[in-house]
Amino acid sequence: MLHSYPKRVPIIMLALTVLLVFYPLWGPILIGDGSDFFLEKLTLMLILGLFAMSLDLLVGVIGLVSLGHALFFGLAGYTLALASPSYNAASLWWMLPLVMLVSAVSALVIGALVLRTRGIFFIMTTLAFGQMLYYLVSDASFTGGSDGLFIMFKPTLTIGDQTLIDLENPLQFFYFVMGMTLLTYLFLHWLIRSYFGQVLDGIHDNEHRMQALGYATYGYKLAAFVISGVLAGVAGMLAAMQYGFANPAQLGWHLSGEVLMMVILGGMGTLFGPLLGAFAYELLHYAFEHLTVYWQLLMGLTIILIVLVLPKGLAGLILDPPRLGLPRIGVGGLFRTRPAASNKTRLGLAGPQKHEEG
Protein backbone atom coordinates (compact mmCIF):
# COMPACT_ATOMS: atom_id res chain seq x y z
CA MET A 1 0.00 0.00 0.00
CA LEU A 2 1.21 3.38 -0.96
CA HIS A 3 0.08 5.36 2.04
CA SER A 4 -0.98 3.28 4.93
CA TYR A 5 -1.76 5.60 7.76
CA PRO A 6 -1.51 4.58 11.37
CA LYS A 7 -4.86 3.67 12.90
CA ARG A 8 -5.05 6.88 14.89
CA VAL A 9 -5.73 8.85 11.71
CA PRO A 10 -9.12 7.29 10.92
CA ILE A 11 -9.93 7.27 14.64
CA ILE A 12 -9.26 10.98 15.02
CA MET A 13 -11.13 11.79 11.82
CA LEU A 14 -14.08 9.68 12.89
CA ALA A 15 -14.13 11.33 16.30
CA LEU A 16 -14.17 14.79 14.71
CA THR A 17 -16.95 13.71 12.36
CA VAL A 18 -19.04 12.46 15.26
CA LEU A 19 -18.36 15.71 17.06
CA LEU A 20 -19.67 17.64 14.07
CA VAL A 21 -22.68 15.39 13.61
CA PHE A 22 -23.78 16.08 17.16
CA TYR A 23 -23.20 19.81 16.98
CA PRO A 24 -26.92 20.55 17.49
CA LEU A 25 -26.59 18.90 20.91
CA TRP A 26 -23.47 20.61 22.23
CA GLY A 27 -23.45 23.77 20.14
CA PRO A 28 -26.25 25.69 21.88
CA ILE A 29 -24.95 24.72 25.33
CA LEU A 30 -21.36 25.68 24.62
CA ILE A 31 -21.86 28.68 22.40
CA GLY A 32 -25.33 29.84 23.36
CA ASP A 33 -26.88 32.54 21.21
CA GLY A 34 -24.20 32.41 18.58
CA SER A 35 -24.69 28.74 17.85
CA ASP A 36 -26.76 29.30 14.71
CA PHE A 37 -24.12 31.63 13.36
CA PHE A 38 -21.38 29.17 14.23
CA LEU A 39 -23.28 26.41 12.45
CA GLU A 40 -22.97 28.45 9.28
CA LYS A 41 -19.28 28.92 9.99
CA LEU A 42 -18.88 25.17 10.35
CA THR A 43 -20.74 24.62 7.09
CA LEU A 44 -18.34 27.00 5.40
CA MET A 45 -15.35 25.21 6.93
CA LEU A 46 -16.60 21.91 5.54
CA ILE A 47 -16.99 23.50 2.11
CA LEU A 48 -13.51 24.98 2.28
CA GLY A 49 -12.23 21.60 3.45
CA LEU A 50 -13.69 20.01 0.33
CA PHE A 51 -12.09 22.77 -1.72
CA ALA A 52 -8.69 22.27 -0.03
CA MET A 53 -8.81 18.52 -0.64
CA SER A 54 -9.46 19.13 -4.33
CA LEU A 55 -6.36 21.33 -4.46
CA ASP A 56 -4.36 18.76 -2.53
CA LEU A 57 -4.75 16.38 -5.45
CA LEU A 58 -2.68 18.85 -7.50
CA VAL A 59 -0.35 20.33 -4.90
CA GLY A 60 0.24 17.39 -2.62
CA VAL A 61 -0.20 14.40 -4.84
CA ILE A 62 1.32 15.53 -8.15
CA GLY A 63 3.32 18.48 -6.90
CA LEU A 64 1.63 21.06 -9.12
CA VAL A 65 1.26 24.33 -7.22
CA SER A 66 -1.75 26.16 -8.63
CA LEU A 67 -2.44 29.76 -7.74
CA GLY A 68 -5.66 29.89 -9.71
CA HIS A 69 -7.72 27.14 -8.16
CA ALA A 70 -10.44 29.55 -7.03
CA LEU A 71 -11.31 29.96 -10.70
CA PHE A 72 -13.27 26.70 -10.62
CA PHE A 73 -14.70 27.53 -7.22
CA GLY A 74 -16.06 30.88 -8.36
CA LEU A 75 -17.07 29.76 -11.81
CA ALA A 76 -19.35 27.15 -10.24
CA GLY A 77 -21.03 29.85 -8.17
CA TYR A 78 -21.69 31.94 -11.27
CA THR A 79 -22.93 28.88 -13.12
CA LEU A 80 -25.41 28.27 -10.33
CA ALA A 81 -26.49 31.91 -10.26
CA LEU A 82 -26.89 32.23 -14.02
CA ALA A 83 -28.61 28.88 -14.52
CA SER A 84 -31.06 29.31 -11.65
CA PRO A 85 -34.49 30.65 -12.59
CA SER A 86 -35.17 34.09 -11.08
CA TYR A 87 -38.40 33.42 -9.23
CA ASN A 88 -38.23 29.83 -8.12
CA ALA A 89 -35.71 27.21 -7.13
CA ALA A 90 -33.75 24.98 -9.47
CA SER A 91 -33.45 21.26 -8.92
CA LEU A 92 -30.15 20.04 -7.61
CA TRP A 93 -30.58 16.90 -9.71
CA TRP A 94 -29.63 18.79 -12.82
CA MET A 95 -27.84 21.74 -11.23
CA LEU A 96 -25.08 19.60 -9.72
CA PRO A 97 -24.32 17.74 -12.98
CA LEU A 98 -24.40 21.05 -14.85
CA VAL A 99 -21.92 22.66 -12.47
CA MET A 100 -19.69 19.59 -12.68
CA LEU A 101 -19.85 19.64 -16.46
CA VAL A 102 -18.98 23.33 -16.70
CA SER A 103 -16.11 22.81 -14.24
CA ALA A 104 -14.86 19.78 -16.15
CA VAL A 105 -14.90 21.51 -19.53
CA SER A 106 -13.17 24.63 -18.22
CA ALA A 107 -10.60 22.52 -16.35
CA LEU A 108 -9.97 20.52 -19.49
CA VAL A 109 -9.35 23.62 -21.61
CA ILE A 110 -7.31 25.48 -19.00
CA GLY A 111 -5.46 22.36 -17.90
CA ALA A 112 -4.52 21.51 -21.48
CA LEU A 113 -2.75 24.86 -21.68
CA VAL A 114 -1.25 25.35 -18.23
CA LEU A 115 0.06 21.80 -17.95
CA ARG A 116 2.44 22.56 -20.80
CA THR A 117 4.35 24.68 -18.34
CA ARG A 118 6.29 23.70 -15.26
CA GLY A 119 7.35 25.09 -11.91
CA ILE A 120 7.12 28.84 -11.54
CA PHE A 121 5.53 29.13 -14.99
CA PHE A 122 2.74 26.80 -13.96
CA ILE A 123 2.07 29.00 -10.93
CA MET A 124 2.03 32.12 -13.10
CA THR A 125 -0.22 30.72 -15.84
CA THR A 126 -2.76 29.36 -13.37
CA LEU A 127 -2.72 32.77 -11.68
CA ALA A 128 -3.18 34.46 -15.06
CA PHE A 129 -6.21 32.38 -15.96
CA GLY A 130 -7.74 33.03 -12.56
CA GLN A 131 -7.26 36.77 -12.91
CA MET A 132 -8.60 36.79 -16.48
CA LEU A 133 -11.88 35.35 -15.29
CA TYR A 134 -11.84 37.59 -12.24
CA TYR A 135 -11.69 40.75 -14.32
CA LEU A 136 -14.17 39.36 -16.81
CA VAL A 137 -16.86 38.78 -14.20
CA SER A 138 -15.98 42.02 -12.39
CA ASP A 139 -16.61 44.09 -15.49
CA ALA A 140 -19.27 42.22 -17.45
CA SER A 141 -22.87 43.26 -16.95
CA PHE A 142 -24.39 39.79 -17.25
CA THR A 143 -22.41 38.71 -14.21
CA GLY A 144 -23.52 41.72 -12.20
CA GLY A 145 -20.11 43.40 -12.24
CA SER A 146 -18.32 43.77 -8.94
CA ASP A 147 -21.58 43.28 -7.03
CA GLY A 148 -21.99 39.77 -8.36
CA LEU A 149 -25.28 37.93 -8.64
CA PHE A 150 -27.79 36.95 -6.01
CA ILE A 151 -29.12 33.45 -5.69
CA MET A 152 -32.60 33.95 -4.30
CA PHE A 153 -33.48 30.31 -3.86
CA LYS A 154 -31.24 27.42 -3.05
CA PRO A 155 -31.71 24.46 -5.38
CA THR A 156 -34.07 21.82 -4.07
CA LEU A 157 -33.42 18.15 -3.58
CA THR A 158 -36.69 16.34 -4.16
CA ILE A 159 -38.01 13.01 -5.36
CA GLY A 160 -41.42 13.57 -6.89
CA ASP A 161 -43.07 16.01 -4.49
CA GLN A 162 -41.16 14.75 -1.51
CA THR A 163 -38.34 16.98 -0.30
CA LEU A 164 -35.38 14.78 0.44
CA ILE A 165 -33.27 17.40 2.15
CA ASP A 166 -34.46 20.93 2.75
CA LEU A 167 -31.37 22.87 1.74
CA GLU A 168 -32.92 26.16 2.94
CA ASN A 169 -32.80 24.78 6.45
CA PRO A 170 -29.30 25.60 7.82
CA LEU A 171 -29.01 22.41 9.81
CA GLN A 172 -30.08 20.17 6.95
CA PHE A 173 -27.78 22.07 4.62
CA PHE A 174 -24.96 21.52 7.12
CA TYR A 175 -25.54 17.77 7.04
CA PHE A 176 -25.80 17.81 3.27
CA VAL A 177 -22.44 19.61 2.98
CA MET A 178 -20.94 17.20 5.48
CA GLY A 179 -22.11 14.29 3.34
CA MET A 180 -20.61 15.82 0.21
CA THR A 181 -17.29 16.47 1.96
CA LEU A 182 -17.23 12.94 3.30
CA LEU A 183 -17.97 11.51 -0.16
CA THR A 184 -15.19 13.62 -1.66
CA TYR A 185 -12.78 12.45 1.00
CA LEU A 186 -13.62 8.79 0.40
CA PHE A 187 -13.41 9.24 -3.37
CA LEU A 188 -10.00 10.95 -3.24
CA HIS A 189 -8.77 8.48 -0.64
CA TRP A 190 -9.59 5.67 -3.02
CA LEU A 191 -8.25 7.51 -6.06
CA ILE A 192 -4.85 8.25 -4.50
CA ARG A 193 -4.40 4.60 -3.62
CA SER A 194 -5.54 3.30 -6.99
CA TYR A 195 -3.29 2.48 -9.93
CA PHE A 196 -4.04 5.96 -11.20
CA GLY A 197 -2.90 7.47 -7.93
CA GLN A 198 0.32 5.49 -8.09
CA VAL A 199 1.05 7.02 -11.47
CA LEU A 200 0.39 10.51 -10.10
CA ASP A 201 2.68 9.73 -7.20
CA GLY A 202 5.33 8.53 -9.61
CA ILE A 203 5.02 11.77 -11.56
CA HIS A 204 5.52 13.68 -8.34
CA ASP A 205 8.65 11.70 -7.54
CA ASN A 206 10.18 11.66 -10.97
CA GLU A 207 8.26 12.57 -14.08
CA HIS A 208 11.21 11.75 -16.37
CA ARG A 209 11.37 8.23 -15.06
CA MET A 210 7.64 7.73 -15.62
CA GLN A 211 8.04 8.85 -19.21
CA ALA A 212 11.00 6.55 -19.68
CA LEU A 213 8.80 3.70 -18.44
CA GLY A 214 6.26 4.58 -21.12
CA TYR A 215 3.74 6.76 -19.30
CA ALA A 216 2.32 9.72 -21.22
CA THR A 217 2.41 11.83 -18.08
CA TYR A 218 0.65 14.81 -19.62
CA GLY A 219 -2.60 12.86 -19.98
CA TYR A 220 -2.51 11.66 -16.39
CA LYS A 221 -1.85 15.17 -15.13
CA LEU A 222 -4.68 16.52 -17.24
CA ALA A 223 -7.09 13.90 -15.92
CA ALA A 224 -6.13 14.80 -12.36
CA PHE A 225 -6.48 18.50 -13.16
CA VAL A 226 -10.02 17.93 -14.41
CA ILE A 227 -10.99 15.84 -11.37
CA SER A 228 -9.55 18.52 -9.12
CA GLY A 229 -11.42 21.25 -11.03
CA VAL A 230 -14.72 19.41 -10.82
CA LEU A 231 -14.40 18.93 -7.06
CA ALA A 232 -13.45 22.59 -6.63
CA GLY A 233 -16.57 23.38 -8.64
CA VAL A 234 -18.73 21.32 -6.30
CA ALA A 235 -17.24 23.20 -3.36
CA GLY A 236 -17.84 26.52 -5.12
CA MET A 237 -21.47 25.67 -5.81
CA LEU A 238 -22.04 24.75 -2.17
CA ALA A 239 -20.36 27.99 -1.11
CA ALA A 240 -22.57 30.06 -3.42
CA MET A 241 -25.62 28.28 -1.99
CA GLN A 242 -24.40 29.07 1.49
CA TYR A 243 -23.67 32.74 0.79
CA GLY A 244 -26.70 33.25 -1.39
CA PHE A 245 -24.67 35.03 -4.04
CA ALA A 246 -21.86 34.64 -6.54
CA ASN A 247 -19.22 37.31 -6.22
CA PRO A 248 -15.90 38.06 -7.98
CA ALA A 249 -14.08 37.50 -4.68
CA GLN A 250 -15.01 33.82 -4.94
CA LEU A 251 -12.65 33.41 -7.87
CA GLY A 252 -9.89 35.89 -7.10
CA TRP A 253 -6.28 35.03 -6.43
CA HIS A 254 -6.79 35.94 -2.79
CA LEU A 255 -8.96 32.89 -2.27
CA SER A 256 -6.59 30.77 -4.38
CA GLY A 257 -3.83 31.80 -2.00
CA GLU A 258 -5.92 31.11 1.07
CA VAL A 259 -6.83 27.60 -0.01
CA LEU A 260 -3.18 26.94 -0.81
CA MET A 261 -2.36 28.01 2.73
CA MET A 262 -5.01 25.63 4.09
CA VAL A 263 -3.34 22.79 2.18
CA ILE A 264 0.14 23.69 3.42
CA LEU A 265 -1.08 24.33 6.97
CA GLY A 266 -2.83 20.97 7.02
CA GLY A 267 -0.06 18.95 5.41
CA MET A 268 0.33 18.48 1.68
CA GLY A 269 -0.55 15.17 0.12
CA THR A 270 -2.26 13.71 3.14
CA LEU A 271 -5.83 14.58 2.19
CA PHE A 272 -7.09 14.61 5.77
CA GLY A 273 -4.49 17.28 6.51
CA PRO A 274 -5.91 19.91 4.14
CA LEU A 275 -9.38 19.14 5.48
CA LEU A 276 -8.14 19.91 8.98
CA GLY A 277 -6.16 22.81 7.56
CA ALA A 278 -9.35 24.46 6.32
CA PHE A 279 -10.88 24.23 9.78
CA ALA A 280 -7.73 25.47 11.47
CA TYR A 281 -7.36 28.38 9.07
CA GLU A 282 -10.96 29.48 9.45
CA LEU A 283 -10.95 29.07 13.22
CA LEU A 284 -7.79 31.17 13.48
CA HIS A 285 -9.30 33.71 11.14
CA TYR A 286 -12.45 33.82 13.23
CA ALA A 287 -10.58 34.10 16.52
CA PHE A 288 -8.17 36.83 15.39
CA GLU A 289 -10.90 38.80 13.70
CA HIS A 290 -12.63 39.16 17.05
CA LEU A 291 -9.41 40.09 18.76
CA THR A 292 -8.10 42.92 16.66
CA VAL A 293 -8.61 44.80 13.42
CA TYR A 294 -5.03 43.87 12.55
CA TRP A 295 -6.02 40.22 12.47
CA GLN A 296 -4.21 39.59 9.20
CA LEU A 297 -0.92 40.45 10.85
CA LEU A 298 -1.56 37.87 13.57
CA MET A 299 -2.76 35.38 10.98
CA GLY A 300 0.42 35.75 8.94
CA LEU A 301 2.66 35.40 11.98
CA THR A 302 0.77 32.35 13.20
CA ILE A 303 0.99 30.64 9.85
CA ILE A 304 4.71 31.32 9.58
CA LEU A 305 5.13 29.93 13.07
CA ILE A 306 3.11 26.81 12.34
CA VAL A 307 4.97 26.12 9.11
CA LEU A 308 8.28 26.55 10.93
CA VAL A 309 7.36 24.29 13.82
CA LEU A 310 5.36 21.78 11.78
CA PRO A 311 6.89 21.50 8.32
CA LYS A 312 4.52 18.65 7.55
CA GLY A 313 1.52 20.59 8.74
CA LEU A 314 -1.14 19.46 11.14
CA ALA A 315 -1.13 16.05 9.50
CA GLY A 316 2.49 15.63 10.53
CA LEU A 317 1.44 16.20 14.10
CA ILE A 318 -0.89 13.21 13.87
CA LEU A 319 1.25 10.95 11.68
CA ASP A 320 4.41 11.51 13.63
CA PRO A 321 3.42 12.89 17.02
CA PRO A 322 6.11 14.65 19.00
CA ARG A 323 7.26 12.61 21.94
CA LEU A 324 6.79 14.34 25.21
CA GLY A 325 8.64 13.35 28.32
CA LEU A 326 10.54 10.11 28.63
CA PRO A 327 10.45 7.57 25.83
CA ARG A 328 8.29 4.57 26.51
CA ILE A 329 10.24 1.65 27.84
CA GLY A 330 8.99 -1.88 27.80
CA VAL A 331 8.93 -5.02 25.76
CA GLY A 332 6.66 -3.42 23.18
CA GLY A 333 8.76 -0.30 23.10
CA LEU A 334 11.95 -2.25 22.57
CA PHE A 335 10.75 -4.02 19.50
CA ARG A 336 8.59 -1.37 18.02
CA THR A 337 10.66 0.75 15.72
CA ARG A 338 9.21 4.07 14.85
CA PRO A 339 8.51 4.13 11.14
CA ALA A 340 10.28 6.92 9.35
CA ALA A 341 7.97 9.83 8.72
CA SER A 342 9.27 10.21 5.20
CA ASN A 343 7.59 6.99 4.22
CA LYS A 344 4.23 8.36 5.05
CA THR A 345 4.24 11.96 4.10
CA ARG A 346 5.37 13.37 0.90
CA LEU A 347 8.54 14.92 2.08
CA GLY A 348 11.95 13.51 1.52
CA LEU A 349 11.25 12.66 -2.08
CA ALA A 350 13.79 12.33 -4.76
CA GLY A 351 13.37 15.46 -6.84
CA PRO A 352 13.33 15.47 -10.60
CA GLN A 353 16.64 14.17 -11.70
CA LYS A 354 18.79 15.74 -14.30
CA HIS A 355 20.58 13.57 -16.72
CA GLU A 356 24.20 14.07 -16.35
CA GLU A 357 26.58 13.90 -19.16
CA GLY A 358 28.86 11.00 -18.44
Binding site: D205, N206, H208, M210, L213, G214, A216, A350, H355, E356
Partner: protein
Amino acid sequence: MSDTPLLSTRGLTCRFGGLTAVDRVDFDVRPGQVHAILGPNGAGKSTLINLLSGELRPSEGEIHYRQHPIHGLPAHRVARLGIGRSHQKTNIFPRLSCLENCRLAARIHLGGVIASWRSRATARQVDERAEQALATCLLTHRASTPASAMSYGEQRQLQIAMVLATAPTLMLLDEPLAGMGREETSRVTELLRALRGDYTLVLIEHDMDSVFALAERITVMVDGRILETGTTAAIRGSEKVRDVYLGRHQQEQA
Protein backbone atom coordinates in the same frame (compact mmCIF):
# COMPACT_ATOMS: atom_id res chain seq x y z
CA MET B 1 23.44 -13.15 -36.94
CA SER B 2 21.15 -10.90 -38.90
CA ASP B 3 22.82 -8.03 -40.66
CA THR B 4 19.92 -5.60 -40.43
CA PRO B 5 20.51 -3.52 -37.35
CA LEU B 6 17.75 -3.31 -34.75
CA LEU B 7 18.62 0.29 -34.13
CA SER B 8 20.72 2.59 -36.23
CA THR B 9 21.58 6.26 -36.24
CA ARG B 10 22.86 8.35 -39.11
CA GLY B 11 24.54 11.70 -38.64
CA LEU B 12 23.08 11.99 -35.14
CA THR B 13 24.01 15.32 -33.64
CA CYS B 14 23.03 17.05 -30.43
CA ARG B 15 24.12 20.54 -29.53
CA PHE B 16 23.69 22.36 -26.25
CA GLY B 17 24.29 25.98 -27.15
CA GLY B 18 27.86 26.09 -28.40
CA LEU B 19 28.71 22.60 -27.19
CA THR B 20 28.28 19.70 -29.57
CA ALA B 21 27.76 16.80 -27.19
CA VAL B 22 27.08 14.24 -29.88
CA ASP B 23 28.63 14.91 -33.27
CA ARG B 24 27.49 13.14 -36.45
CA VAL B 25 27.26 9.71 -34.90
CA ASP B 26 26.55 6.67 -37.07
CA PHE B 27 25.77 3.87 -34.69
CA ASP B 28 24.30 0.43 -35.35
CA VAL B 29 23.02 -2.08 -32.84
CA ARG B 30 22.55 -5.61 -34.06
CA PRO B 31 19.72 -7.67 -32.62
CA GLY B 32 20.58 -9.98 -29.76
CA GLN B 33 23.97 -8.43 -29.10
CA VAL B 34 25.43 -6.70 -26.10
CA HIS B 35 26.86 -3.46 -27.35
CA ALA B 36 28.95 -1.42 -24.93
CA ILE B 37 29.77 2.23 -25.31
CA LEU B 38 33.06 3.30 -23.83
CA GLY B 39 34.63 6.68 -23.55
CA PRO B 40 36.06 9.17 -21.10
CA ASN B 41 33.79 11.44 -19.09
CA GLY B 42 32.16 14.03 -21.30
CA ALA B 43 32.47 11.89 -24.41
CA GLY B 44 28.73 12.11 -25.01
CA LYS B 45 27.75 8.57 -24.05
CA SER B 46 24.83 9.50 -21.84
CA THR B 47 23.67 12.13 -24.31
CA LEU B 48 23.65 9.46 -27.01
CA ILE B 49 21.52 7.18 -24.82
CA ASN B 50 19.19 10.09 -24.02
CA LEU B 51 18.79 10.71 -27.74
CA LEU B 52 18.04 7.05 -28.39
CA SER B 53 15.44 6.91 -25.62
CA GLY B 54 13.72 10.09 -26.77
CA GLU B 55 14.58 12.05 -23.64
CA LEU B 56 16.53 14.49 -25.78
CA ARG B 57 15.70 15.61 -29.27
CA PRO B 58 18.50 15.44 -31.79
CA SER B 59 19.62 18.71 -33.37
CA GLU B 60 20.26 16.81 -36.57
CA GLY B 61 20.34 13.29 -37.85
CA GLU B 62 18.13 10.25 -37.79
CA ILE B 63 17.40 7.31 -35.55
CA HIS B 64 15.78 4.22 -37.00
CA TYR B 65 14.36 1.40 -34.93
CA ARG B 66 13.32 -1.68 -36.89
CA GLN B 67 13.65 0.50 -39.99
CA HIS B 68 11.17 3.05 -38.66
CA PRO B 69 12.25 6.59 -37.85
CA ILE B 70 11.91 7.35 -34.14
CA HIS B 71 13.82 10.61 -33.84
CA GLY B 72 11.55 13.32 -32.50
CA LEU B 73 9.22 10.87 -30.73
CA PRO B 74 8.65 11.69 -27.06
CA ALA B 75 10.24 9.38 -24.48
CA HIS B 76 7.03 7.58 -23.55
CA ARG B 77 6.33 6.66 -27.18
CA VAL B 78 9.85 5.32 -27.60
CA ALA B 79 9.42 3.28 -24.42
CA ARG B 80 6.19 1.80 -25.75
CA LEU B 81 8.00 0.63 -28.87
CA GLY B 82 10.07 -1.67 -26.70
CA ILE B 83 13.11 0.43 -25.91
CA GLY B 84 13.57 0.35 -22.16
CA ARG B 85 16.20 2.30 -20.34
CA SER B 86 17.75 2.69 -16.94
CA HIS B 87 19.42 5.82 -15.70
CA GLN B 88 22.83 6.52 -14.36
CA LYS B 89 21.38 7.78 -11.11
CA THR B 90 19.28 5.35 -9.16
CA ASN B 91 15.82 6.16 -10.23
CA ILE B 92 13.30 4.06 -8.40
CA PHE B 93 10.15 5.04 -6.55
CA PRO B 94 11.32 4.90 -2.96
CA ARG B 95 7.95 4.62 -1.23
CA LEU B 96 6.74 1.72 -3.35
CA SER B 97 7.75 -1.86 -2.66
CA CYS B 98 9.95 -3.68 -5.16
CA LEU B 99 7.00 -5.53 -6.61
CA GLU B 100 4.98 -2.33 -6.93
CA ASN B 101 7.86 -0.61 -8.68
CA CYS B 102 7.88 -3.41 -11.24
CA ARG B 103 4.10 -3.46 -11.51
CA LEU B 104 4.14 0.23 -12.29
CA ALA B 105 6.60 -0.48 -15.09
CA ALA B 106 4.69 -3.48 -16.43
CA ARG B 107 1.25 -1.91 -16.26
CA ILE B 108 1.76 0.75 -18.89
CA HIS B 109 2.85 -1.90 -21.36
CA LEU B 110 -0.23 -4.00 -20.66
CA GLY B 111 -2.92 -1.49 -21.49
CA GLY B 112 -2.27 1.08 -18.78
CA VAL B 113 -4.23 1.96 -15.70
CA ILE B 114 -7.68 1.52 -17.21
CA ALA B 115 -7.01 -1.98 -18.55
CA SER B 116 -5.86 -3.11 -15.12
CA TRP B 117 -9.00 -1.61 -13.62
CA ARG B 118 -11.31 -3.23 -16.07
CA SER B 119 -9.87 -6.69 -16.36
CA ARG B 120 -8.72 -8.94 -13.56
CA ALA B 121 -6.87 -11.05 -16.10
CA THR B 122 -4.80 -8.05 -17.17
CA ALA B 123 -4.09 -7.14 -13.57
CA ARG B 124 -2.88 -10.70 -13.03
CA GLN B 125 -0.72 -10.49 -16.12
CA VAL B 126 0.85 -7.35 -14.70
CA ASP B 127 1.58 -9.21 -11.47
CA GLU B 128 3.11 -12.15 -13.28
CA ARG B 129 5.37 -10.02 -15.39
CA ALA B 130 6.47 -7.98 -12.38
CA GLU B 131 7.22 -11.13 -10.41
CA GLN B 132 9.14 -12.59 -13.29
CA ALA B 133 11.25 -9.46 -13.61
CA LEU B 134 12.04 -9.57 -9.90
CA ALA B 135 12.95 -13.25 -10.13
CA THR B 136 15.31 -12.60 -13.04
CA CYS B 137 17.01 -9.89 -11.03
CA LEU B 138 17.24 -12.11 -7.95
CA LEU B 139 14.98 -9.92 -5.87
CA THR B 140 12.03 -12.23 -5.23
CA HIS B 141 12.78 -12.32 -1.51
CA ARG B 142 12.56 -8.52 -1.50
CA ALA B 143 9.19 -8.25 -3.26
CA SER B 144 7.36 -6.51 -0.45
CA THR B 145 10.30 -4.47 0.83
CA PRO B 146 9.99 -0.73 0.26
CA ALA B 147 12.56 0.26 -2.33
CA SER B 148 13.97 2.91 -0.01
CA ALA B 149 14.86 0.26 2.57
CA MET B 150 17.21 -1.71 0.32
CA SER B 151 20.93 -1.49 -0.18
CA TYR B 152 22.31 0.59 -3.01
CA GLY B 153 23.26 -2.50 -5.00
CA GLU B 154 19.78 -3.96 -4.64
CA GLN B 155 18.26 -0.70 -5.78
CA ARG B 156 20.38 -0.87 -8.92
CA GLN B 157 19.14 -4.44 -9.45
CA LEU B 158 15.59 -3.22 -9.01
CA GLN B 159 16.19 -0.61 -11.64
CA ILE B 160 17.11 -3.32 -14.12
CA ALA B 161 14.08 -5.33 -13.01
CA MET B 162 11.86 -2.35 -13.79
CA VAL B 163 13.25 -2.13 -17.30
CA LEU B 164 12.68 -5.86 -17.72
CA ALA B 165 9.10 -5.51 -16.51
CA THR B 166 8.38 -3.29 -19.49
CA ALA B 167 9.18 -6.34 -21.66
CA PRO B 168 11.59 -4.44 -23.88
CA THR B 169 13.33 -5.65 -27.01
CA LEU B 170 16.19 -3.24 -26.60
CA MET B 171 17.57 -2.21 -23.22
CA LEU B 172 19.60 0.94 -22.82
CA LEU B 173 21.54 0.74 -19.58
CA ASP B 174 23.42 3.80 -18.42
CA GLU B 175 26.16 2.63 -16.07
CA PRO B 176 24.30 -0.22 -14.42
CA LEU B 177 27.33 -0.96 -12.24
CA ALA B 178 28.08 2.58 -11.14
CA GLY B 179 29.09 2.91 -7.53
CA MET B 180 28.86 -0.78 -6.72
CA GLY B 181 31.20 -2.83 -4.59
CA ARG B 182 33.13 -5.75 -6.06
CA GLU B 183 30.66 -8.41 -4.94
CA GLU B 184 27.66 -6.46 -6.19
CA THR B 185 29.43 -5.79 -9.47
CA SER B 186 30.01 -9.45 -10.14
CA ARG B 187 26.42 -10.31 -9.17
CA VAL B 188 24.94 -7.75 -11.56
CA THR B 189 27.41 -8.68 -14.29
CA GLU B 190 26.17 -12.26 -13.99
CA LEU B 191 22.61 -11.01 -14.14
CA LEU B 192 23.31 -9.04 -17.31
CA ARG B 193 25.10 -12.00 -18.82
CA ALA B 194 21.94 -14.05 -18.28
CA LEU B 195 19.95 -11.48 -20.27
CA ARG B 196 22.27 -11.82 -23.23
CA GLY B 197 20.55 -13.46 -26.15
CA ASP B 198 17.01 -12.73 -24.91
CA TYR B 199 17.47 -9.00 -25.15
CA THR B 200 19.53 -6.57 -27.12
CA LEU B 201 21.58 -4.51 -24.73
CA VAL B 202 23.28 -1.18 -25.17
CA LEU B 203 25.29 -0.35 -22.13
CA ILE B 204 27.53 2.41 -20.94
CA GLU B 205 30.00 1.15 -18.40
CA HIS B 206 33.31 2.14 -16.93
CA ASP B 207 34.11 -1.20 -15.35
CA MET B 208 36.45 -2.65 -17.99
CA ASP B 209 36.42 -6.21 -16.69
CA SER B 210 32.64 -6.32 -16.88
CA VAL B 211 32.57 -4.71 -20.31
CA PHE B 212 35.02 -7.20 -21.74
CA ALA B 213 33.14 -10.04 -20.07
CA LEU B 214 29.75 -8.96 -21.39
CA ALA B 215 30.04 -7.05 -24.62
CA GLU B 216 30.21 -8.54 -28.07
CA ARG B 217 30.68 -5.21 -29.76
CA ILE B 218 32.17 -2.05 -28.39
CA THR B 219 31.92 1.52 -29.58
CA VAL B 220 34.47 3.97 -28.28
CA MET B 221 33.41 7.61 -28.13
CA VAL B 222 35.62 10.65 -27.67
CA ASP B 223 34.48 14.26 -27.73
CA GLY B 224 31.04 13.40 -29.05
CA ARG B 225 32.37 11.37 -31.97
CA ILE B 226 32.78 7.70 -32.52
CA LEU B 227 36.43 6.80 -32.48
CA GLU B 228 36.00 3.20 -33.36
CA THR B 229 33.46 0.40 -33.37
CA GLY B 230 34.32 -3.25 -33.46
CA THR B 231 34.26 -6.61 -31.76
CA THR B 232 35.55 -6.77 -28.23
CA ALA B 233 38.78 -8.36 -29.40
CA ALA B 234 39.31 -5.76 -32.10
CA ILE B 235 38.80 -2.90 -29.67
CA ARG B 236 41.14 -4.48 -27.20
CA GLY B 237 43.80 -4.68 -29.85
CA SER B 238 43.21 -1.26 -31.34
CA GLU B 239 46.17 1.10 -31.06
CA LYS B 240 44.00 4.14 -31.50
CA VAL B 241 41.69 3.18 -28.67
CA ARG B 242 44.57 2.28 -26.44
CA ASP B 243 46.13 5.68 -26.95
CA VAL B 244 43.02 7.70 -26.41
CA TYR B 245 41.13 5.82 -23.82
CA LEU B 246 42.49 2.61 -22.44
CA GLY B 247 45.91 4.13 -22.02
CA ARG B 248 44.58 6.96 -20.02
CA HIS B 249 42.44 4.58 -18.04
CA GLN B 250 45.42 2.44 -17.12
CA GLN B 251 47.51 5.44 -16.24
CA GLU B 252 44.80 6.59 -13.88
CA GLN B 253 44.80 3.23 -12.20
CA ALA B 254 48.57 3.08 -11.91
